[in-house]
């Protein structure tokens, strides 16, 4: 299974698109063969070499015209068929969803993805980054918000892309038919780090999803061991806390991703790095090395402090 590919659909819209694509591909293959064959045939006809200009005989001309007219008619019909297929597929995709969808707000920043559950209502809301968890076989309604420039939300295995445009309210429906992890990324050029603006869609069984959500709502327990306590201090007293939030602490900043459950995420820096203490440590020390131009500044810390900080962050499961 290829988590990046549109050729390996795991969701209804993607599957429909792919089916249509293969349809077009077959037609194209036939057309290509026919045209090239005709061309080859035309060239291959052994007649006297065309040294000089010659009038073709009216009869041949007439037959040629007939051929061209028919070919054109055939083209028109084929294209008509393709058009109908396309529009039909488009409608089939638009029909989703039948049941009330799970609504998630997707907020695109330079250069990271924020996901807010649920979109609204007085129910308690939480925010996470990089990982978009969804229940399988449920339509998901994503409300795409752009905070700076145009970004485009794309999960090849699940659905076509949809732009998040400043000043415009865009909605995208998703549905994962089978559990799994699907890679997503920003598809619209959005500046220096466009390349490293990935995210991960984790489709899980409804019960797992609910469990995950409740876990997200709960603040992680305050650090018990001295090392991680030190880590928390470092976090609060260094640059970290002026951009990042961690529930249960006094860090409420919203410039960077919410780190409340950082330890539980599969990758760092929008999928650029493995999520382990070594990478995290390097990332904190010099983010510009991994993501030149990223808005996160480097945070020089004494080795002990960085060790403590990393221990604390990695512990935020």
């Amino acid at each position: 299974m290829d988590p990046y590919s549109a050729l390996d659909p795991a969701g209804t819209p993607a599957a429909l698109s792919l089916r249509l694509f293969y349809g077009y591909l077959d037609v194209s293959a036939v057309v290509f063969t026919l045209v090239i064959a005709a061309l080859g045939f035309a060239l291959g006809r052994p007649r006297q070499p065309a040294a000089d200009y010659q009038e073709a005989s009216p009869a041949i001309e007439r037959s040629k015209s007939r051929a061209v007219v028919w070919a054109t008619v055939a083209t028109v019909l084929t294209l008509l068929g393709l058009l109908i297929a396309s529009v039909a597929t488009g409608h089939a995709m638009a029909l989703l969803p039948a049941e009330p969808p799970v609504r998630v707000q997707v907020i695109s920043h330079k250069w990271w993805w924020e996901f807010r559950y649920p979109v609204s209502g007085s129910a308690t809301q939480f925010s996470t980054a990089y990982e978009l968890h969804i229940p399988v076989a449920r339509p998901i309604q994503l409300e795409l918000v752009a905070t700076d420039v145009i970004h485009s939300f794309w999960v090849p295995s699940l659905s076509g892309k949809r732009d998040a445009i400043p000043g415009k309210h865009n909605v995208l429906f998703l549905q994962a038919d089978r559990p799994g992890r699907y890679e997503g990324q920003c598809a619209e050029f959005c500046g220096t780090q466009h390349a490293n603006m990935r995210f991960l869609v984790v489709a899980e069984r409804p019960d797992q999803f609910v469990a995950w959500r409740d876990h997200q709502l709960a603040s992680p327990p305050p650090p018990s061991d001295p090392l991680r306590q030190r880590g928390l201090e470092v976090f609060m007293n260094s640059r970290c806390s002026s951009c990042h939030a961690i529930a249960g602490t006094d860090a409420f900043a919203t410039v960077g991703p919410d780190l409340t459950h950082l330890g539980a995420r599969r990758r760092l820096a929008m999928g650029t790095l493995e999520n382990d203490s070594t990478h995290l440590s390097h990332w904190i020390e010099d983010p510009q090395a991994a993501k030149p131009g990223v808005q996160m500044p480097s945070t020089p810390l004494s080795p002990e402090d960085r060790h403590a900080l990393v221990a604390y962050l990695e512990g935020l499961k």
Binding site: D148, P166, N237, R239, S242, V255, P297, S298, P300
Partner: protein
């Protein structure tokens, strides 16, 4: 003859390669020197960088971003007109108008309640902010000063603001 002219143009272009206008420095080399600063070297570095950043369009725009993200705008106004804190777009500077003065104020705050950003920003970010703050009062080259952001327009563009001759305000 034609060839000659084209050759000439090639030379012109090649000459341009020399100048490094608008090169973007994503991180300044010796960040670590903040831990064990060699004061002399640091001072020189700061002065040079301050001057460079104060005329660098990209650095200034990064400063503009930080001005919003670090809540400078909350006190000093989105356009630098002031609020809880003094204006930054006028000619009066309570704590000095020099690049180093502004840098110092941002780093260590003020007695009147401006928080110190020493621990919240890298030196580079502070330099970027200094550049932006200077641009608010028209004291940045108009080719580098910000024009407008994609938000509510609350003031004439800094790039079109006439420089305010700085004066020390006695308050």
């Amino acid at each position: 003859m034609e060839r000659l002219i084209f050759a000439l143009f090639l030379v012109i272009i090649a000459a341009a390669a020399g100048c490094r206008r608008e090169q973007r420095r994503f991180s300044e080399a010796p960040e670590a020197s903040e831990l064990h600063p060699d004061p002399l070297h640091a001072a020189q570095r700061d002065q040079q960088n301050l001057e460079r950043y104060a005329k660098d369009a990209w650095a200034i725009s990064e400063g503009q971003r930080l001005y919003g993200q670090m809540n400078c705008a909350g006190c000093h106004g989105h356009g630098g007109g002031g609020g809880m804190a003094p204006p930054l777009m006028d000619s009066q500077w309570l704590y000095g108008s020099g690049l180093r003065d502004i840098e110092r104020t941002i780093l260590s705050g003020s007695a009147r309640g401006m928080p110190a950003f020493k621990d919240r920003l890298t030196r580079q970010q502070v330099w970027q902010l200094v550049g932006y703050v200077r641009s608010l009062s028209g004291n940045a080259p108009s080719s580098a000063a910000p024009v407008r952001d994609d938000h509510m327009s609350v003031r004439p563009p800094p790039s079109r603001t006439d420089p305010e001759p700085p004066t020390q305000q006695v308050d």
